[in-house]
C-alpha cells in the first residue's frame, strides 16, 4: 500500500511538473532552477530505489555521475556513466540517467533512445520505467510529436495502474 502511495505521489508530481513543461520556459530563472532541482531529486530517488545490485565499481561511478549531474557538469557525468555502462551494459538506472542528461542538454531524440534502452533492461522496475516514460513524454513534447506524447501517456497510465 505504502509503495503504491509513493509511486502515485512520485508519478503525480512528475506528471504535474512535466505537464507544465512548455510554460517552464517562461518561468523566472529561480523557479526554473528549483523545478530542475526537484525533478532531479525525484529522479535520483527513483534511480536509487530501483537500482539493482550493481558491482561496487558501477555504484561508485554512478555516484560520481550523480554528483556531476547535480552540479550540471553533464559532460563529465556522461563520461562516468559511459564507463559504468562499459562495465555493466544492462544497468538500467545508468541508461535512465543518460536520458536525463540528454534532456538537459536539449537533445530530445537522444533522450528517447536512452530511456528506451533503460526500459529494455528495467525488467520489473516499474518505478524506473515510469520515470523513463516521463522522459520520453517530455522529449516527445519538445519534438512536437503528439503521437509520442499520447503513446507515453498510455504507458504511464498502464504503469501507474500496476
Amino acid at each position: 500500500m505504502f509503495r503504491r502511495l509513493c509511486l502515485a505521489a512520485t508519478a503525480g508530481l512528475l506528471i504535474g511538473q512535466l505537464a507544465c513543461a512548455p510554460a517552464g520556459y517562461q518561468k523566472r530563472e529561480t523557479e526554473a532552477v528549483s523545478e530542475k532541482a526537484t525533478t532531479l531529486a525525484m529522479a535520483t530517488q527513483t534511480w536509487q530505489r530501483t537500482s539493482a545490485s550493481a558491482l561496487p565499481a558501477v555504484e561508485d561511478l554512478v555516484k560520481q555521475a550523480d554528483s556531476q549531474i547535480a552540479s550540471r557538469n553533464f559532460d563529465v557525468a556522461a563520461d562516468k556513466l559511459e564507463r559504468a555502462l562499459r562495465i555493466s551494459p544492462d544497468y538500467a538506472p545508468a541508461w535512465s540517467r543518460m536520458a536525463h542528461i540528454a534532456l538537459n542538454e536539449a537533445d530530445p531524440s537522444r533522450a528517447i533512445q536512452m530511456a528506451k534502452r533503460s526500459n529494455s533492461h528495467a525488467a520489473n522496475a516499474v518505478e524506473l520505467k515510469l520515470l523513463n516514460w516521463q522522459y520520453i513524454r517530455k522529449a516527445s513534447q519538445m519534438l512536437g510529436d503528439t503521437d509520442g506524447v499520447l503513446n507515453a501517456d498510455k504507458s504511464i497510465n498502464i504503469l501507474q495502474s500496476l
Binding site: 561496487p56 565499481a57 561508485d60 563529465v76 563520461d79 559511459e82 555502462l85 562499459r86 537522444r110 529494455s120
Partner: protein, 804 residues
Amino acid sequence: MNYRTAGRIIRPVSFIIGRLKCCFIKSVTRRKSRKTPSRRKSAPRKKRKQGSRSLANARSTKRAVGWIVIASVLVTTLYVLWLDYRVVDRFAGRLWSIPARVYARPLELYEGKKITVAELLFELNRLDYQNISQTPDKPGRFHHWANHFEIKTRTFRFSDGEEQSKEVRIDIKRSTISALYDLQTRKAVPLVRLDPVYVTGIFPAHGEDRILLRLDDVPDMFKQMLVMVEDRRFYQHFGIDIKSIARALIANIKAGRTVQGGSTITQQLVKNMFLTPDRSLWRKLNEAIMAVLLELHYDKQQILETYLNEVYLGQDAERAIHGFGLASDFYFGKSLDELDLDQMAVLIGMVKGASYYNPVRNPQRSTERRNIVIDTIQMYGLISAAQADYQKSKKLVVTSRNKRALYPAFVNLVQRQLTRDYDPEDLKSEGLQIFTTLDPFIQHVTEQSIRSTLPILDRHTNELQVAAVVTSTDSGEVLAIVGDRNPSYAGFNRALDAKRHIGSLMKPVVYLAALRQKDKYTLGTILSDTRLRIEGEDRKIWEPENYDKAYHGDVIMYEALLKSYNIPVARLGLELGLSRIAETLRQLGNSTVLPPYPSITLGAVDMSPFEIASIYQTFATNGFHSPLRSVRAVLDSKGMPLKRYQLDVKRESDPAAIELINFVLHKVTQSGTAAGLSDGLDIDVAGKTGTSDELYDSWFAGFSSDKVAVVWLGFDDQRPTGLTGASGAMRVWKRIFRGISASSVRQAMSEDIRWVWIDQETGLLSDKHCENAVELPFIIGSEPTESAGCKAGSPLDWLKKILK
C-alpha cells in the same frame, strides 16, 4: 612577414639610419664651412695644387673609409636586428608543432572483471610498467607472483578528470578479479583505471615528435645534473661563456683537434632551433649573437625549459625524438620523474651525440658516457662516491619494444573519423590527445590469430588476404582492426575499404525483413526449397543452388536459416521485395544501395567487414544500433576536453523479431553451418558463415553478449580461395574468441516472446515427445494455433531429444 613584425624591424632601422644621416650631414656641413677660409689662406698655386690633390685623395679615402664604416655599421645593425627578429618571432609564437598523441582505451580494473593473468601482464608490459621483486615504491612499477599483483599506478589526466596514482593489490581467481584493495589502508577499492597505452602520433612531414615538459615537471636532480654536465656556469653567463670558450680553445689547441666544446646551453639551443649543424666560424658568430639576444629577451628558466623540450635525442624511423620528455618515454618507457639516476645520466649523456651514444644501438658507448656523467656529478658533489659506484654498477636496460605505429588499420580509422571534425594540419601540430577505443590485448590476439591461422589455410601462395573487425556489443566501440595479412603493414585497409560479396551473411537480414511482419511470417513458416529459375530483363537465367546441390522440399524458416539453404531465402526475398530488404538493412545501420537483382538475397552485394560489423552489432544488441566509433574524446595539449564522442543508440528495428533471428544464429553455432564453434569455445556465441559464389570470399560474423567480430578471407584479385565461411574465416574467428575474455550470448527472451513446440515438417503445433518436434520462440500472437497431430518418436529419438 606581417605589417607588425615588419614594423618592429623598420622602426629601429629607420631610427638608426636617421641618426647616421643626421651625423653625416652635420659633419659635411661642418667640413664645408671650414673649406672656404682654408683655401684662401693657401700658399703658392702649384704647391697648392699638389697639396690640394693629395689632400683631396686623403679626403676621398677618408670619406670612402667613413662610408664603409657607416655601411658596415648599418649592415651589421640590420643583420643583428634581423637575428633579433628571428629569435623573438620564434619564441613569441608557437615554438613547435606537436603531433597528436593517440591512446588506447585505459584498462579499468574492478572486482568481478573478467581478466586473465596473461592479459594484465600484457597490458602492464605495453605500458612499460617495471616488474620488480618487492612492493612497488614508484608509479609505473608492479610486483607479480602467481595470481597476485601489487601495482602502483601512474597519475593521468582523462576527459572526466585526473586519475590519481594508487597502490593496489589485485587477486585473480578463475580469470576474474576476486579482490582489489589499497595496499596502504587495506580497504577495498571499487575501481582503478590504468593510464592508457600510447598507440602512435599523427606526425607532421618533418617527423619531429616530443612530449612537452614544463620546468616544474622536471625533477630537480635532473636539472642540476644537466646544468653540471652541459653548462656549469649557465646561471652566471649572458649567453656565451668566455671562460668556457678559452678553456675549450686551449684544450683543442693542445690536442690538435676538437676535443672540447665551449657552447653554453643557450648556444646549443640557438644552434638547434635556428642554425645548421656545420662547424663554420660564421655559424659560431651567429650562434653567439643570437645566444646573447636570447638571454636579453628571456630569463634562464624559459631558456632551460625550451632546451629540455628542443634537444634532439635520436631517431625512430621517420620520427625524430626531441626533448627529454619523449626520450624518457621512448628509451625507458617512463616519464622523466620516474627515471632512476643512472637512466637520467644516459639521457644527459646523449646530448653530446644522440646517435653515437644511443643506448639501443650502442649500449657499450652509452654506458661509458653514462658513467662519465655520473663521475662528473660526483666530482662536483651532487652525489657521494658510493652512490656513484652503485649507479655505475647498474646494467643499462632500455625498452626494446618498437614504439612506432603498431596498428595502422586502427589508426587509419581514427584519422578518418577525426577528419570529420578536425583539420588534418591541426592533428599534426596542435598537440591534441586522442583517446580511442582500441583494446591492445584484443588487437594482439586478433593479430596472433591471423598470423597463426593463415599459413594453415594458405600453404602455397602466401597471398590470401584477411581483414578483421572486433567491436564492443553495447557501445559500438571498435576494439581491434586488422586490414592486411601482415597486420603492421600500413597499406590498403581491407577492413574498411575491401568491398566484397557478403554471401550468406545477408540471409539474417532477409529473414528479419520477413519476421517484422509477424502476422505473416514466423520461424515456423514453411518455405519451398525446390528448383527456382528466373529470367532477368537481359534474358539471363538466374538459377540458385544450395551448397549441397540438393533440394529439400518444404522446410521451415528456422531450418532454412540454420542450414543456410539458398533457394528458400531467394524465394522469400522475391516475395518480400527489394524495398523491404533495403529498409531492414537501413534499420540495422547500413545504407548500402542494393542493386535490383534477386541475387542480393544470397549476398551478391558488396560490403566491407566494417559495414558487416555494424550490421551484426545491431543484431547483437537486439536492435539498438550504435554507430561504430573509434574515438572517445579529444583533449587539447593542456589536457582540457575539446570534444566527446558520445555513446549513441537508436532503436528502429523490431526487437522481438531480432530476438528470433538471434535465437537461430545461436543455434547455427551449435548445430548449423557453424557447429564447429561448439567444440573448443567455452562460451555460447551466435553467428553466421558466409561464402560467396565460386568460393571467392570466406566470411564469418558472430557475437557473444559483449563482443562482435567479423572476419573476411579472400584474394585481392578475386581468385577462388577454396574456403567456405566455416573452413576459413570461422577458424580465425574462433581463435580470436578463444584468446579474449567474452561472455555467453544472452538467451533470455523478452516478455513479447512465447516458446512453442512445433512440427518441423508442417510448422504446426506439436508436442515435445512427438517426432520432428522442435521448440521455437514466437512473437506472442504469431504462434501457430492448429495442431499437426503427434507421431511419437522412437525411444532413441526421445532419448536424443532429452539429452539435447
